[in-house]
Amino acid sequence: MKIAVLGAGHVGPVIARLALAAGYEVGIAGSGDPARIEMITEFLAPGAVALPAADAVADADLVVLAIPWHRFPTLEPGMFAGKVVIDSMNHWPPAEAPLGTSEEVARRLVGADVVKTLNHVAYQDMEPAGGRAVGIAGDSPDAVRAVAEFLEHIGFDPVPVGPLAAGRLLEPGSPVFGVAARRQEFENFIKEQS
């Protein structure tokens, strides 16, 4: 399976590294010319290939969005059709928006299967993943299964929290946001909410 990581900031290279270590092929992209992130890729995610975003996505089965939320509107939506897309983005600062980020992502990326996860883990806590519990929310059972498998391979313990709308439970302000909760605490929290 091939992974595309969009974003070469704090988060992108960490996810790329975890995926590479688990044996995945990884393409990584910033907003512009891949030459701009070549050095970053070479030192922070050696083995990943720096590509233009469209090429990275075209090649991949699974796409990770690790870009700032306010940059999301700059993505060309057409290229995501038929892909499984992980949304790891957060409203920043926390917003009282009616929809969670992932619902908005799904709305815009027509034809993509969007899954929310990893957004609630600070980048410095992602590596080593160490079996840390992470919430996973999505509307397509196949996509959720595929992402859960990916998360397990790179070292996390994915805990289903429900459909995409339940992804709000993972957003800033939630008791599990930024907290090293164990699977049991995660499950208890989700149960309380439903």
């Binding site: 922070l44 806590d125 800033p172 907290v179």
Partner: protein, 339 residues
């Protein structure tokens, strides 16, 4: 040359009965702390800009000038200046004035602004922070060259053959980086030194950033420049005392920040990890802190270490003791270990 310094965010300290001191008294105490840092032989004293009631040091350069007047060798700087929400022309003017007042002891550490309080205060949109930092860093680098400047951009009025004074000797400029690889490359491209802000997790994970920086300097045809580390800590005669003194205030502060900033709320276990050999807190006896500093500096190829001391709720006396122990015990031990 290896340099050891101290950074403070000027957190409001408390008296013996636990009552917060006034902002004015807190600021006067920071001046005393800077003077002591010089007396115990430290090389740098830095003040981080913040704009909140529990961190009232919004005008670091004024406080640094007061310290300059009472010291003769310690370097004085920001840690950091939130350049994204400031005017690079004013930052340049304030610090070159400090450079004049202190007889060439000013330094600036520029930051993109992880502490977000200054954005709404000065009317900036947090969503613009990358563009603001990019453009303003560029202008600041141009200003440092000295001489009349011509510049045009989106974030301030353009300049045409403009003298921006006072002209002083060039002063060291750093970029503070918390984990953004773009900032590492940017520092190298402008020829600014790299200050790694390591405030959580394993310090060793920053080693690839050091390599990236050194490689980028080479690629941009620049001479090697120092790499520094900024990390929080607290020193007391014994490990136990240091850890116990620091913990309640650390819990309180991170707990408050954590919910909105994405930090985990500390637990006794996570605290034990952070103060242990694999964490980012330099809390302990002089021996423990020295050993951890030496190991981290070696691992990251750093020639500068700034201990960020102080946290809201500790007393001025306890901070003075940390400074004294750091300067007289910790630093000499680290120098030995690195020799």
């Amino acid at each position: 040359m290896t340099t050891f310094g101290l950074d403070t965010f000027g957190d409001v300290t408390h008296d013996a009965s636990g009552t917060p001191l006034t902002h004015a008294q807190t600021i006067r105490n920071v001046v005393e702390q800077g003077v002591l840092a010089d007396q115990v032989g430290l090389g740098f004293f830095g003040i981080g800009e913040h704009h909140t009631p529990d961190m009232p040091l919004s005008a670091a350069d004024v406080v640094l000038a007061a310290i300059a007047a009472r010291t003769s060798s310690i370097h004085l700087g920001s840690a950091v200046t939130v350049l994204s929400s400031d005017d690079p022309v004013r930052v340049y003017q304030r610090f070159s004035t400090l450079n004049a007042v202190s007889d060439g002891r000013a330094e600036v550490i520029l930051g993109r602004g992880s502490s977000v309080d200054s954005f709404p205060l000065f009317g900036y949109d947090l969503a613009d922070y990358e563009d603001l930092f990019e453009e303003k860093t560029h202008l600041f680098a141009e200003l440092l060259k000295g001489g009349p400047i011509t510049w045009q951009g989106k974030t301030r009025a353009s300049l045409h053959e403009q003298d921006v004074v006072p002209y002083t000797e060039p002063f060291p400029t750093w970029i503070g980086v918390g984990g953004s690889p773009q900032s590492v490359v940017r520092a190298a491209s402008y020829g600014f030194s790299l200050m790694l802000a390591i405030i959580g997790g394993h310090p060793g994970r920053f080693a690839p950033f050091s390599e990236l920086y050194q490689h980028a300097l080479e690629k941009f045809g620049r001479d090697p420049l120092p790499i520094g580390i900024h990390s929080p800590g607290h020193v007391a005669p014994t490990d136990e005392e240091a850890r116990e003194e620091f913990w309640p205030h650390y819990l309180d502060m991170i707990g408050r920040l954590g919910r909105t900033r994405g930090f985990a709320t500390p637990t006794p276990e996570s605290y034990a990890h952070e103060v242990g050999p694999h964490g980012a807190l330099f809390v302990g006896s002089p021996e423990t802190v020295a050993e951890k500093m030496a190991r981290t500096m070696k691992k990251l190829g750093a020639s500068r270490f700034d201990l960020k001391y102080g946290i809201g709720g500790l007393s001025h006396e306890s901070l003075m003791r940390t400074i004294e122990l750091y300067g007289t015990k910790v630093v000499p031990m680290v120098r030995d270990m690195l020799a």
